[in-house]
């Protein structure tokens, strides 16, 4: 495997992560640096994800780099039945770095084994999405001043939500306490609770979003999707129990910030958007600086 590839957030040490967050800060203050003028970066989106693709491509272009690739498999040789292996081997010949999104889990790890250039995983099915995790960490540090000793509320789909799982693993090095708020059917899987127990990290589980949020430093909200329920009646029963509304924020801490990986449906009421504690749009913007930093870190130009 190419050592610099980023497939899962767990591939990077605390030092790597801090270096990237510091660099992202620098790009946020001074984004006009043409560090990638001599680089060609492949952006291979085997499934469409406009939001993530634009964030990456904008990061590359701000730094003066060239982007080649495709935005959905239908327009590429993949549609003619080319294997992932052949696509990666071909593209790694004429690019310095490959950013890939693919619907199959483990595809990015496999690509990193066969590719001669580093790979950034921009999402492999329901498995990993490490740049989302980096921008979450960046947003938390930026708003709280530090990653240490925070009380983090994770709300919504904690069973299938991959961003929640990566964030939990990544934050575990920083002495957090966690509060998990979800319907019974979407509780955090046991393997993650085992992980927290092993690390002696404090956590609590709740069925309802209630006044406990007055202790929160971060509320990280995710979407509760109808498809996750085998019984639609169960969904109807719980869907409104996890909606954050502005009036619920009255008693909360001044430093509280609300995060969401976006897109949002109705789990954060639009009346929260104007509250200075709402940070989710800024969080998405931070993604560009974090991706600029990651690319420069991998290519060794900064």
């Amino acid at each position: 495997m190419n050592r610099k590839s980023l497939i899962s957030i767990m591939d990077y040490s605390k030092e790597d992560i801090f270096k990237i967050l510091d660099l992202a800060e620098e790009f946020q203050n001074n984004p006009k640096q043409r560090l990638l003028e001599n680089f060609v970066i492949a952006s291979l989106f085997f499934e469409p994800s406009t939001r993530t693709r634009l964030s990456f491509e904008s990061a590359i272009q701000k730094l003066g780099g060239k982007v080649v690739g495709f935005s959905e498999a239908a327009n590429s040789s993949v549609a003619k039945g080319e294997s992932l292996k052949d696509t990666i081997l071909t593209v790694s010949n004429y690019s310095d770095l490959i950013i890939m999104r693919h619907p199959i889990e483990g595809s990015a790890r496999y690509a990193s084994e066969i590719s001669s250039t580093p790979i950034i995983n921009a999402g492999d099915g329901a498995n990993q999405h490490p740049t989302q995790c980096l921008l979450d960490l960046y947003s938390i540090r930026k708003t709280q001043g530090s990653l240490e000793n925070l009380n983090i509320f994770l709300v919504g789909d904690l069973k299938y939500g991959r961003t929640v799982h990566s964030l939990l693993m990544a934050m575990s090095d920083f002495n957090p306490s966690f509060n998990f708020v979800s319907p019974q059917q979407l509780r955090l899987p046991q393997e993650y609770k085992d992980f927290l127990n092993e690390k002696e990290i404090e956590y609590y589980e709740h069925d309802k979003l209630d006044e406990n949020i007055k202790y929160a430093d971060i509320i990280y909200v995710t979407r509760v999707q109808k498809e996750r329920f085998s019984d639609p009646v169960e969904y109807e029963k719980v869907k409104n129990a996890y909606v954050l509304k502005n009036k619920m924020l009255e008693e909360t801490k001044d430093n509280l910030r609300i995060l969401h990986p976006l897109p949002r449906v109705n789990e954060i009421d639009i009346d929260v958007d104007a509250n200075p504690k709402a940070y989710y749009f800024k969080q998405a913007e931070n993604g560009v600086y974090v991706r600029m930093a990651l690319i420069c870190h991998i290519l060794g130009v900064k």
Binding site: S83, L84, I104, E105, G106, S107, R109, Y110, A126, E191
Partner: protein, 152 residues
Amino acid sequence: MKGELKVKAIEKGTVIDHIKAENLFKIISIIEIENIDTQIFIGSNLDSKKYGKKAIIKIADRFPSMDDINKIALIDSNAVINIIRDFKVVEKKKVELPETITTYFKCINPHCITNNENVETKFKVINKDGNVNLKCYYCDKITGHNNLVIKR
């Protein structure tokens, strides 16, 4: 008469003994017995004090490496390997769980790359409460001991 003796004795080679009878065919598959060209004797449903019914595999003239044989532990951790020379057991060892395993098992996740492209499986072996589970190197999903399916 002892169970082993109901199956023809070999002069030299390897005997895999104390297999639970129900695990025999999985083990035959995992050691790729069809690629062995020497004499092979297999007995099943032999009486055993320990298990009720046990099975035994005797492979003449072949001494596979323990690396190769240890994958048996994923299916039956009580199996015992006897090395035979001159009709006598000269060495007796229990199979040991390997740390990783490649190729032999399928990943339980239908969305995993190993089930969608021509990619060999690779797992970390996790021994939890005496049960063997496999964690996929590619998709991170855990294939439990009840779901081990041999990939062919």
